[in-house]
Symmetry: C3
Subunit: 336 residues, 3 copies
Amino acid sequence: MKHQHFTIATLGSHSALQILKGAKDEGFKTLLVVTKHTEPFYRRFTFIDDFIVLRALGDVISIEKSLRKRNVILIPHGSFVAYLGKVGNKRLTVPYYGNKKVLDWEADRTLQRRWLTRAGIHQPKQYRPDESIRFPVIVKSFGAAGGSGYFIAANKAGLDKKIKAMKQHKYVIQQYVVGVTCYLHYFYSPLTKSVELMSIDRRYETNADALGRIPLTYQTPSLDPSFVVVGNSPLVLRESLLPEVLAMAERIVSASQKLIDPRGLFGPFCLETIITPDQKFYAMEISCRIVAGTNLFIEGSPYTWLTYNEPMSTGRRIAREIKTAINKNKLALLTG
Amino acid sequence: MKHQHFTIATLGSHSALQILKGAKDEGFKTLLVVTKHTEPFYRRFTFIDDFIVLRALGDVISIEKSLRKRNVILIPHGSFVAYLGKVGNKRLTVPYYGNKKVLDWEADRTLQRRWLTRAGIHQPKQYRPDESIRFPVIVKSFGAAGGSGYFIAANKAGLDKKIKAMKQHKYVIQQYVVGVTCYLHYFYSPLTKSVELMSIDRRYETNADALGRIPLTYQTPSLDPSFVVVGNSPLVLRESLLPEVLAMAERIVSASQKLIDPRGLFGPFCLETIITPDQKFYAMEISCRIVAGTNLFIEGSPYTWLTYNEPMSTGRRIAREIKTAINKNKLALLTG
Amino acid sequence: MKHQHFTIATLGSHSALQILKGAKDEGFKTLLVVTKHTEPFYRRFTFIDDFIVLRALGDVISIEKSLRKRNVILIPHGSFVAYLGKVGNKRLTVPYYGNKKVLDWEADRTLQRRWLTRAGIHQPKQYRPDESIRFPVIVKSFGAAGGSGYFIAANKAGLDKKIKAMKQHKYVIQQYVVGVTCYLHYFYSPLTKSVELMSIDRRYETNADALGRIPLTYQTPSLDPSFVVVGNSPLVLRESLLPEVLAMAERIVSASQKLIDPRGLFGPFCLETIITPDQKFYAMEISCRIVAGTNLFIEGSPYTWLTYNEPMSTGRRIAREIKTAINKNKLALLTG
């Protein structure tokens, strides 16, 4: 079967526009699962061939038969866990791009830390609540999405008070690494066996990114930072850092093949880092799928323009990978 | 008459390059009104066919006969009010892109607030000087352009002192909303009856955007922020915010048709917002014309690349709209 | 000899990818000098035709004969001084793009200041250690690269203590100008005798650009800013500032022709400025070669898209210049 007979589908949120635009550019049919609320917005885009309107995006599980009939390949993005849960993602039986075994390692902060450590990636020091702590620290509740649910503590009293006020009971206490944030977008292809650097962004967080505009004398002690990601802006890195940027990704892929599963991590992923003044990368987290920062680069990034002679978004790169696999009769390699 | 016989003209400042580049790309003749001081700069650009050199840009009123002979359509931008005043803009009799009736509602902060309220847009709380005020607040003098003439006050004493020192006597006192700034660039076409999201930027303000680089111990209490806009940097928003981003613009257009005039607001406009940690947009202001932030996207933005298969700046979108109207014999719909 | 018989070469670092991509796009052969450590990274890029692997990039001096055989034109970038020293650059006998006489004026802060002053460029006030100083100040050691080795002092005691702790004994004490940073990328062609504005960026410095995200109550007095450049983000400027932006560059080129050498400064250069709230540019430094901020614009910048109908990076602009000179038999004009 030719790739034109397949339909690339996803849930209407996060990076759905990029994914389906890329799929259409590569010659696929496209389908979007939406709610009544978001349907009018997505109807504006002519590269989406077809829509399925559900009461909630999580209900996609109930329409698998219909998806299968249309030869759907589902592309997960950063909101799939929010809508379906880890278990829901695993229960899907329709062809699903990516290795589902990675989900367990990504979702559990302890396993994720073990994986990154194995790959030789620097990470912020982590504390147990009863340990002697060097402040400031940042506390991250498990399962917090988009940076909401994070807080800073400057001392023991502040930490205790805020932990008490949390609804979540699972959290980590991390050293607050002082350095600039940097989100590295990669793509690993098991077909070419190589990692590509797709693009780099910096997240735009409210209100953390607003505080710097308020000088000392106007900041009240009650002004607490929050880290809700609402946007992204583009970035390039110093060229001398790029060999390590790619080497980190190669070590992560390689470690995943040993720790998780022979196929390991593949497709798009993102390493969320802080760069300190000694030019070291500290990884706060890994996202094992397309991240929203790639939405900046619909028409390509400074990095993809170095390697492709055409506009190449991460969404389009996914579609190209699937097309290549179909044409080589290797689609099973890419779905989990 | 075909569109090639029309000349798109504007004043040499603000976004003139984008406007005339876009006009040339769409097949129009182009004309720029400059001063002796700016002429050498603009002469560098080959897409500008012709120049008229005036002693002051505001003198454009005195050459209307000559503009009319050339079949000029004048495209106003953010500096038109600075050079001509609201009254000067209204007095122009040469074809002028946009609805001049909107000028009154845009220029008057009270009317503007009424309009945005009618459209269901969140806005910062506004105070009278004699009211009980929750600090910090930001004070904005009427007619202040580009953010100069704004100041923050942290308490009643600071507010009183600074208001006394102001030269301007008309001003508003607004709640200082703590959140990230976000400038949304739209285009409403009465021909297609739809709103497009053209691009998004973040303004670069001196010295407000420099303060964050100076740590606590080096900030002196005399360090006061100022908000003079000198540049712009690109931004994309979380995809889940986009349906509301477009819905806000649709409500604004619709409210303008009821409050202002049946034609209401059309063409390019910009909503200047702050996004709070609960992911709400607070509008500080609306600009009812092309804004300078669109100058980032001469070759298209992540949003226009989703909908156009060619580079589409806001300047080019204006020219395309006028071309379409001319070809459908509907130019009168677009000029005010 | 036609330009296809020449090889554009550079050292593997800084902006090598941009330079060689641009050279390949213009039809040159390309060669990169790398170390064993960086070779695997650069091997990813198919626009690099050939590699020479050295133990250290500075050893390029020992392979000049081989470079000459390949008709190499060497393009220096911001790391050439770090790898070869000023003296090493001058000793190179292989054709080297740019005017080597400028190196002396660039490397010496006193000469550089004289040059910029002659060009009528505002600069931060400079202090001798025994002078009465208005704080805060920034201290920059001579030869510090990429912003490392800079520090802020808020008062006399802090200044004295930090100067004592410095390893470097040559340094300047400058007024800390409060305003937004802005890096202006230019290209001056002696063939067309005109300056072009290629692009504009803002540097991303660790940890200076991270401090603003930490509010007052979490900043400890020991938190000292550092200014290590690790990346760049794109910027456009207010259009009304652009005539002065270009006029500054023209005055700098013109002053260089009087002060340094009749050929003066040509090719790519960068003015590193701070813009104050009165919209004045204060130059901190000039870089007389391609800067890393141009790496953002592999596919062109908002400014090059106004003047070129094709993607034009600074790297490609260099190659185009050399190609034009070769075709006009004027290559000697461009090499120093």
